[in-house]
Amino acid sequence: MTKNVDAHPITVEVVRNSIVAYADEMGNALCKAAYNMMIYEVRDFCCGLIDTKGRMISQNRGGLPIFLADLGVAVEDGIKRWGLDGFKPGDIMIMNHEVCGQHLNNVVIYAPCFVDGELVGFAANRAHWVDIGGMRIGFGSSLTTEIFAEGLQLRSLKIYEEGKRNETLWQIIHDNVRFPDASLGDLRAQVASCQLGARRYGELIKRYGRATVEACIERIWDQADRAVRNVIEKIPDGIYEAESALDNDGRSLDQPIRIKVTVEIKGSTMGVDFSEMNPQTHSPLNSGKSGGIAAARVAFKAITSPDLDVNEGCFRALDVKIPEGTIVSAKPGTAIGLWSIALPTTIDTILKALAPALPNMIPAAHKGDMGGCSFYGFKPDGTRFLLLNIFGGGWGGRPSEDGEDASVSVCQGDVRNSPVELQEIRYPIMVDEHALRDDSGGPGKFRGGLGVRITYRTLVPCKVTINCERTRVPPWGLAGGGNGAHNAAIIKPTEGPERIVFKGTEIPLDAGDRVTFLTAGGGGYGDPRDRTRDSTSNDVAQGFVSAEKASEFYGWTKTVAPKVRSA
């Protein structure tokens, strides 16, 4: 229908840039008006425009990478339920049901976009609410065993009907979440962001006509698809496999979780097969199918088109095979509170499988977990607080350069740690140190990046949830490089001995207790003995690598310069 409209090249360019600019504008409106750090600092949100078939027209830049063109699933559910003629101008939809495949904190809001009475698309966003009710708070809990303990489910409901707020629904939400001011404040920001996006898209359609805009969008998708296929065609055909593991599901602590992927390159397409992934667990360490698809898409995009804007066309050449019932494709009713935990390792494993096919492109493994902490309790004035933060870690050494230090995971892009000053202004804690973790980078010709060391001291009694991963299978080296140091947390009470904790839900702390988080270093790339002496000497001079480790891994010895005595 739209194919026979010839899109003027400059119009294509205007449309291409405009649709992304609108999504960015939506993101800005949401982020700037948001009430919780998961949105304004962690940027755990995405915004975009969706067409009337549920396809992604555009997505904002700088949101969470794992939210890759997956808003459509939520919108499709609404279209199925209401029918395209079931939407009216002024309607706003709310959706976080498990069919989205992500933990229930991720709430999708979307608004239909009408031009002259005709439905032309939707503006949608997804944002991580600080709380959605249920038995758990913050993130990292391993306690739930089914979705119903994880909070309120809202399936394709109208929170606004023709401009009028649904007060009943509003009240239900208000009364069932722990921080109603924050959650409803975020909801307000999400609604406004969608209204803005719908208005902008409507303006674009009004100016150029629906047929022209849609022809431009098709052209943009086709161009993205072509660019992606050009890259895949250069990868040797073949079947590539890799396997790694997560530590455990947080409940059965001695039971590792298998992460196994098969990647097939064939002509201009890439297939990712998750059939041999671990079956879904009895803990919340599961995601719906969209978790597996997200992992495959992140790896795919990093290889084929890291600098293209995200849209439907970027993924046409990717085929994901994913039977129901694995930890990345859980059945209905399953607990999915820790939906994202397996994704960084899954992505690392896909990349590892492809390393032989792309010898100059794939780095060693990165820190491998989502790197968050949460402290929960009451301030001296009796109000509830929940401190969340995200930490970076080391990235793997690359075929021609060292890995980066202290950077967020492959699942997190423009995600920022929380400034110490901000945390101390807001919460009853002090931070005693925020430093690079020396000696944590995996040895290699190109060394893995360093992890982070951050110590919290509580000023009031409270609880901490810890969720470290990849301690059994630390960030691996490639091409002869060694492993990076793994993640860990250390609790040091004011009295008594300190203890190492990898996973723990709502561990009670007294005022004055300290918790140190040590994030993993990246794996090394290449034989450490091939590392230049200058690089190691500099590492030692700066303190990134201790003299002992330098000698152990790199055969480095301090040469004592002959002393020159002045006369």
């Binding site: 003027h8 400059i10 360019e13 205007v14 840039n17 405009s18 600019a21 609108y22 409106a29 700037k32 008006a33 304004y40 700088g62 001011d181 404040g185 307000r188 920001a189 406004a192 962001s193 209204q195 902008r200 992140v298 990093a302 088109s305 890291p306 600098d307 990349l351 492109m361 794939i362 780095p363 930490f391 970076g392 690359r398 980066e404 230090d405 202290a406 950077s407 967020v408 492959v410 997190q412 892009g413 423009d414 995600v415 920022r416 740690n417 400034p419 110490v420 000053e421 901000l422 101390e424 202004i425 002090m430 140190e433 925020h434 430093a435 690079l436 982070v452 001079a541 700066q542 303190g543």
Partner: protein, 686 residues
């Protein structure tokens, strides 16, 4: 009142002055090793008598070049114990989310030169661990031994309690006279330790080089019996005193490019252009800025360098997008036969091949000369004659032969690629922000701007290009219109209904006192000072805040209905919603202190009726536009001779003392009453 503005770019130093009610101009080569010489040359060329001048305004790219080239001082950093890696860790974010080969900002200070001191201040501004001065003494000694030239000091929560930073500063300055010391609270009294550290380090890093340069310039001027004021352009679009610039060189980061955008804004107002793009192409770079209702967009901070790995700078700045393409950008061929232009520039020395100084690197200006677009005999007002044969040799040898192209074909390729690169910066401030270029006009200036603007505008469908009077020295002209401006900020966090009245009053008083002290230091009279206070407000629970104008502290501490209303309206305007029933929280208090110029000489000149100043006759020569084989016989006009109301259709070349304007076939040119050129582009068949 006699004033001059001098703008030092990477290639040229420009001057515009108002002397005895008349506009004078000059353009000379920049001398990178001794930039003061370029200033002296322009003053001489414009026949400015320094003792007669009441004010010299100056803009320079020295600060930003120091950062981009990483050629700043040997710098150390002092932090609170436990936090020496805050600067290296940054915010941990990866802007290029899918790039496995991403790079994050690389610190300007080595880790081994980052020192920790025992001290701690909490969020309430209480010193819970006193500063151990003996450690500072040891660090001061180490700094001396290591021959450190500059030190940045950034302690946790120093915005709330600066005493520890002050004590460190005093000791460092006492023990190491001559050391350039920057204390974070002097630059930015705002929370967020990483951004404050980065801004402080940037200041220290560029400090010695910039303040030496400014000192040299001042000595030169004083030596020539200049008795007036020396003012420096700053990134926020205002000007500051010499002393302020020496202490806060970081605010000179965009000193060069902003002035032209201020001038373009005034011109846009005069012409009634609601949305336009200021485009400034010099010898080294091309810059673009979106101007709405006469005002260039201002950002609260930005990153210097690449968007993903640049250094954050948290001070207000005019929003300008820059690409490394200018008249002096060098064309080169890569191993696979790809032709590139820039970002390396020939600068003023050796300069383009056509300068005849022996360079064999062809630059954009060489290509323009080969194409007949510029006149080798009239370059820089005829002060410098260009060697066309040398240009042809360089183009041929470096680009033509390796690619198997004829000389003229190769020259056209260089010009086309440069235009394409530059259109990206224009795109970044228009299309990428959802502004359709077809709804805008371009105001083009800079020595090379008018030569390339029309091709760029055509490429992205901007229908109209305005070439102001004096395009070649327009940035220097813009300086003569800029206000004196100083921004102050204090973090003060608290709910609006529970604010400590005494504290609020104290902070307002301190801001005003800081402002007055700055005015006194800079000799700004009370009569022209304009104090604008703002409170950064947000709903309780939000993070980002909006600045709301505050006319009296009682708006916060007494009846708050007015401030609530203002905030709700602003929130609704920006984010499409507001929450009338919610509590408000204050985060920062700000003071924007400006003093408008007491004269309007430059603005009046911009709009005053134009009469030709010369009578040179029209000539013609062959110029290559699209086809290297078929040059068009083209009219060559002399701009000073064109009367107001004159109209004609391209192809044409309009020459003037410091710039050349290339009008493509079919484009319509009109000279406005004030003497600006309006070029309406011929439509391209869709």
């Amino acid at each position: 009142m006699n004033i001059v503005g001098v703008d030092i770019g990477g290639t040229f130093t420009d001057l515009v002055g108002c002397i005895d009610g008349k506009i004078v101009t000059a353009k000379c080569s920049t001398t990178p090793a001794d930039p003061t010489r370029g200033v002296a040359d322009t003053l001489r060329e414009a026949q400015c008598d320094l003792p007669q001048l009441s004010e010299v305004l100056h803009g320079s790219t020295i600060a930003i070049n120091t950062v981009l080239e990483r050629k700043g001082a040997h710098t150390a950093l002092i932090t609170t114990r436990g936090f020496r890696d805050v600067y290296a860790i940054g915010r941990g974010n990866r802007i290029e989310a899918f790039n496995l080969w991403f790079h994050r900002p690389k610190p300007l200070v080595e880790r081994r030169l980052t020192f920790e001191v025992t001290e701690r201040v909490n969020a309430a501004g209480e010193a819970i661990v006193p500063l151990v001065l003996s450690e500072v003494e040891a660090i001061a000694k180490e700094i001396k031994d290591q021959k450190i030239e500059a030190v940045a000091v950034c302690l946790l929560h120093s915005y709330a309690f600066p005493d520890h930073e002050r004590a460190i500063g005093e000791m460092l300055r006492r023990l190491n006279p001559g050391l350039f010391v920057t204390l974070s609270h002097e630059i930015l009294r705002e929370f967020r330790e990483y951004e404050r550290t980065s801004t402080t380090v940037l200041n220290a890093f560029v400090g010695p080089r910039v303040s030496n340069y400014l000192g040299t310039l001042d000595s030169y001027l004083r030596g020539e019996n200049f008795g007036g004021k020396l003012h420096l352009m700053r990134s926020n679009g205002g000007v500051m005193s010499l002393d302020q610039a020496k202490a806060q060189p970081v605010s000179m980061m965009e000193s060069g490019p902003v002035a032209g955008m201020i001038g373009a804004g005034r011109l846009a107002q005069h012409l009634g252009l609601e949305k336009c793009i200021g485009f400034d192409m010099g010898g080294t770079t091309a810059k673009s800025s979106l101007i709405t209702n006469g005002r260039p967009a201002i950002e609260e901070g930005y990153v210097i360098g690449d968007h993903a790995s640049g250094q954050p700078m948290q001070l207000p700045v005019v929003d300008i997008v820059e690409v490394g393409n200018g008249g002096g950008s060098i064309a080169w061929v890569d191993g696979t036969g790809g032709l590139h232009v820039g970002p390396r520039s020939a600068g003023a020395d050796p300069g383009p091949a056509c300068y005849g100084k022996g360079s064999m690197d062809p630059v954009v200006t060489d290509a323009d000369l080969v194409l007949g677009r510029i006149n080798g005999d009239r370059f820089l007002g005829g002060n410098m004659s260009l060697d066309k044969a040398a240009a042809e040799r360089a183009v041929d040898q470096t680009v033509g032969k390796p690619l198997g192209l004829g000389t003229k074909e190769a020259a056209l390729g260089i010009a086309t690629i440069a235009d394409n690169n530059m259109s990206l910066s224009v795109r970044a401030v228009s299309v990428n922000k959802g502004v359709d270029p077809r709804d805008t006009a371009m105001i083009a200036f800079g020595g090379a701007g008018p030569l390339h603007a029309i091709a760029i505008a055509r490429e992205i469908f901007i229908p109209r290009v305005v070439i102001p009077k004096l395009p070649g020295t327009f940035s220097a002209l813009g300086m003569l219109m800029a206000s004196w401006r100083q921004d102050f900020v204090r973090t003060l966090v608290g709910r609006l209904d529970a604010l400590d009245t005494t504290l609020v009053e104290r902070v307002f008083k301190e801001l005003a006192e800081d402002g007055k002290a700055q005015m006194q230091r800079d000799g700004i009279g009370n009569d022209i000072a304009d104090f604008r206070f703002y409170a950064d407000l947000r709903y309780v629970g939000q993070e980002h805040a909006l600045p709301i104008p505050i006319t009296s502290p009682t708006m916060l501490t007494g009846d708050q209905s007015r401030v609530r209303e203002l905030f709700n309206v602003e929130h609704d305007l920006r984010y499409g919603q507001s929450a009338l029933e919610e509590h408000l929280e204050v985060v920062n208090l700000r003071l924007v202190l400006t003093a408008a110029r007491s004269d309007t000489i430059a603005e009046a000149w911009l709009t005053q009726p134009w009469t030709p100043t010369d009578t040179t006759e029209e000539t013609s020569r062959d110029v290559i536009f699209d086809n290297p084989e078929k040059p068009l016989s083209t009219r060559i006009l002399w701009r000073p001779a064109l009367p107001a109301g004159f109209t004609f259709t391209g192809p044409a070349v309009i020459e003037e003392p410091n710039s050349t304007i290339l009008i493509h076939p079919g484009d319509k040119v009109t000279v406005t009453d004030a003497g600006h050129l309006i070029v309406d582009l011929a439509g391209k068949e869709a």
